[in-house]
Amino acid sequence: MPADFLSNLYVFILAGFIGFEVIKRVSPLLHTPLMSLTNALDAIVVVAAIIIAGRHETRLSTVLGAVAVAASFSNMVGGFLITDRMLRMFKTGKTKKP
């Protein structure tokens, strides 16, 4: 077992617990924006895709990397955009309608 594995596992478990505790507190009102926001955050795989595409090792890896860049970046852009749109709709009774 490589040494990296254990340190990654360490991080994974801690992040899992943080995620659990933080997300438990998210208002059920906002569960749809939560899902679109986590989608956008998960799209951070774009950084791995950029490296794969940019290293330009083989033609296959460049093409696959570029497809992955497009797929994950669409999630990043679309996810943040729709989360922002949804959250703008949540108003209290006091805010005057335009």
Binding site: M1, P2, D4, F5, N8, F12, A15, G16, I18, G19, F20, V22, I23, V26, P28, L29, L30, H31, T32, P33, L34, M35, T38, N39, L41, D42, A43, I44, V45, V47, A48, I50, I51, G54, R55, H56, T58, L60, S61, L64, A66, V67, V69, A70, A71, F73, S74, N75, V77, G78, G79, F80, L81, I82, M86, R88, M89, K91, T92, G93
Partner: protein, 465 residues
């Protein structure tokens, strides 16, 4: 700047990004701080992308720039869809996320392949299997939600055996690849088998179970990204994936509880096919119906009204009429609140977004448990396009297929009004005894039209109260 210093700077940016991600989820705890949360996430993601572009390993930018432009070209329209289409958009984005995690794993396999350790092979194999099955599963879920594919569960005899054998085959291929790394031709076969499993996994699941399925796929997409972080030794992926994965997992648990189902039951149960309900003992029962005029006078005489919306309201596009009803009643001094069942929409929290879009203040949207403690003191419960989530049989009839499911106890309100097209049972085909209660008035008609009629009566000759 030395290469080492640059690398450390890039890694530090990733740490900042991760902090941004955690804060962004933390601030989602309330609608007031949530907008700040999105900003924190955006800053984190933007920093990470810029830092990565500066990585000296990146030697060729042409394809990256083109791919980023294509990604933005797909992402922007997908960020602008109508709120009723958010569930299928979400399923589609799970598909994109899983697709990219999966193909990065595939690319990494072919780059690393002669020097890949057994352990590394197992990591990549697992990552690619989960990513691939999530990709096809999410595409099928999006197709069902968009109603391109049939919403009803598609089942055949021995289905679970077939599906699990396909999954088993994918895992066996992965093990074979670990033992014999030179059998590289097995790798694409493994990918195809995993893709097929994703299709088999979601096809049998019916439309009513979509809130759980979409949450589970969310969780898979997250964990596949996390596994990719293990493969590439990238902690930012491990963390982002773990956050996404645990979020999807929590939502799946909430959805399962809201339907009183277990994971296995959702995945392998094919709900809503042949429900031999206890309607066999049904005698000729009578219902009372009322006109819009009568409904309007009862509503304006009430001091507390609870509106219970279901997905039927969204299908009828009645949200904006419901807002007009809310405005008209509020103007008359009636206290109007909305009781939201966790599975009222097509995905977790969907109903809240639909009502918020119609400009209904979010402090009027009440969770099921809070609403239930208030319903006995409520004068009128008005049900629009909801059925099973109000069915008292879930509390009382042990023979009912939905027995044990938490419901909104609308039958405890003084008067119940149900807007419904006809007496046909709903999607799941389960009879609702609520309709036959003495306190229940059936308002037969299209949700949008009928609510519109009530609003007209209220604003017309209504004398107030």
């Amino acid at each position: 700047m030395s290469a080492l210093a640059l690398q450390q700077l890039i890694d530090s940016t990733y740490i900042v990004a991760v902090v941004g991600f955690i804060l962004s989820l933390k601030w989602l705890s309330s609608p007031v701080s949530a907008k700040r949360g999105v900003l924190a996430g955006e800053i984190g993601a933007a920093l990470a992308v810029i830092a990565t572009l500066a990585n000296p390993e990146v030697v060729q930018y042409k394809w990256i720039i083109i791919a980023l432009a294509i990604g933005a070209g797909i992402g922007i329209p997908l960020g602008l869809v109508h709120m009723t289409a958010v569930p299928q958009r979400t399923a589609l984005s799970h598909a994109f996320g899983a697709l990219s995690a999966s193909i990065i794993g595939i690319a990494e396999y072919y780059v690393a392949t002669p020097n890949l350790t057994k352990f590394g092979m197992a990591e990549i194999g697992l990552e690619v299997i989960i990513g691939s099955l999530t990709f096809t599963g999410s595409v099928i879920a999006a197709g069902k939600l968009q109603e391109i594919l049939p919403q009803r569960p598609i089942t055949y005899k021995g289905q679970n055996v077939v599906s699990l054998s396909v999954l088993g085959a994918a895992i066996l291929l992965m093990i074979a690849l670990c033992i014999h790394p030179d059998y590289t031709y097995l790798f694409p076969i493994m990918v195809v088998v995993a893709l097929i499993f994703g299709i088999l996994l979601v096809t049998p699941i019916g439309g009513a179970d979509m809130p759980t399925v979409i949450s589970l796929l969310n969780s898979y997409a997250g964990f596949s990204a996390s596994l990719l972080g293990f493969v590439l030794n990238s902690k930012v992926l491990v963390v982002a994936g773990a956050l996404d994965g645990s979020s999807g997992f929590i939502l799946s648990v909430i959805m399962c509880k809201a339907m009183n189902r277990s994971f296995t039951n959702v995945m392998f149960g094919a709900f809503g096919q042949v429900q031999a309900s206890s309607a066999a003992v049904e005698e000729a029962r009578t219902v009372r119906s009322a006109t819009a005029e009568e409904a309007a006078s009862i509503l304006s005489a009430a001091s507390k009204v609870a509106i219970v919306p279901g997905y039927g309201m969204a299908v009828a596009q009645a949200q904006h009429k419901v807002r007009e009803l809310y405005d008209a009643l509020t103007k008359k001094g009636v206290d109007v609140r909305f009781g939201i069942h966790p599975v009222a929409g097509r995905m977790p929290g969907h109903m809240n977004v639909l009502l918020a879009e119609a400009d209904i203040p979010y402090d009027r949207l009440i969770e099921m448990d809070d609403m239930n403690s208030d319903l006995p003191q409520t004068d009128v419960a008005l049900i629009i396009g909801a059925n099973d989530v109000t069915n008292p049989a879930a509390r009382t009839d042990t023979g009912s297929p939905i027995y044990g499911m938490p419901i909104l106890d609308v039958d405890k309100a003084r008067t119940v009004m149900v807007i419904k097209r006809s007496m046909n049972p709903g999607f799941a085909g389960i009879d609702n005894p609520l309709y036959y209660l003495d306190k229940t008035l059936m308002l037969f008609g299209d949700a949008k039209g009928f609510v519109g009629d009530i609003v007209r009566e209220l604003s017309g000759g209504g004398s107030g109260h």
